[in-house]
């Protein structure tokens, strides 16, 4: 059952990865990467249960936090980049 869940998560990650490649806007890519991050959090948790090592949950927890901060940080970066481009044009 754990393996099936992991397989579903990986399949969904591939789909999100396809969206990250396809774009078309920066925001689509950020959304897709954020989505992959959420799926990774779940995948790490499930992998921890597959291998019988619940310590994986600490990594999962950390990943959830980093994923959020990374999304906000990239968003800020893109926003500032856009503002600068507007000023120049």
């Amino acid at each position: 059952m754990f393996l099936a869940a992991a397989a579903a998560l990986i399949a969904a990650m591939v789909l999100a990865l396809a969206r990250a490649f396809a774009g078309p806007t920066v925001y689509d890519r950020i959304l897709a990467v954020n989505q992959i991050g959420t799926q990774t959090v779940l995948l790490i948790a499930v992998m921890g249960f597959i291998s019988g090592r619940p310590d994986f949950l600490d990594i999962s927890l950390l990943y959830a936090l980093i994923n959020f901060v990374a999304t906000i940080a990239v968003l800020r970066y893109v926003k500032r980049d856009r503002a600068r481009a507007d000023k120049q044009s």
């Binding site: 925001y27 954020n34 989505q35 927890l61 959020f68």
Partner: protein, 110 residues
């Protein structure tokens, strides 16, 4: 035994919703409509998978961590989604609508 079955069913439901989120993010026509399936993964998919893992943990520390992951996801995912949607709107991205799809007018940023 019953708990085990419940946990497996829950994980299966969660995996299904994660898959739906993945399909939706690929299928929907524009950013804003894509965010709705993405939200399914964040809330329902994650919720059911973590709920299903809960009876398998066997240690209160592991259970608390699972609950903590769920709470973090529940607090951070809507904030990230909101920030993304807000930034995209400020950038001049026009939401896809049925009418615009039919007429196929392609006006750029205002």
């Amino acid at each position: 035994m019953i708990l085990e079955i419940i946990s497996w069913i829950s994980i299966a439901i969660g995996a299904f919703f994660v898959l739906v989120g993945g399909i939706g993010i690929l299928r929907m026509p524009d950013l804003f409509t894509r965010m709705h399936p993405a939200g399914i993964t964040d809330s329902v998919g994650a919720g059911f998978i973590l709920l299903g893992l809960l009876p398998q943990s066997g240690d209160w520390l592991v259970s608390v961590k699972l609950a903590l992951i769920f709470v973090f996801l529940l607090f951070t995912s809507p904030v990230a989604t909101h920030a993304l949607a807000h930034a995209a709107l400020l950038d001049g991205l026009k939401p896809w609508t049925k009418a615009r799809d039919k007429t196929r007018d392609k006006d750029g940023a205002p």
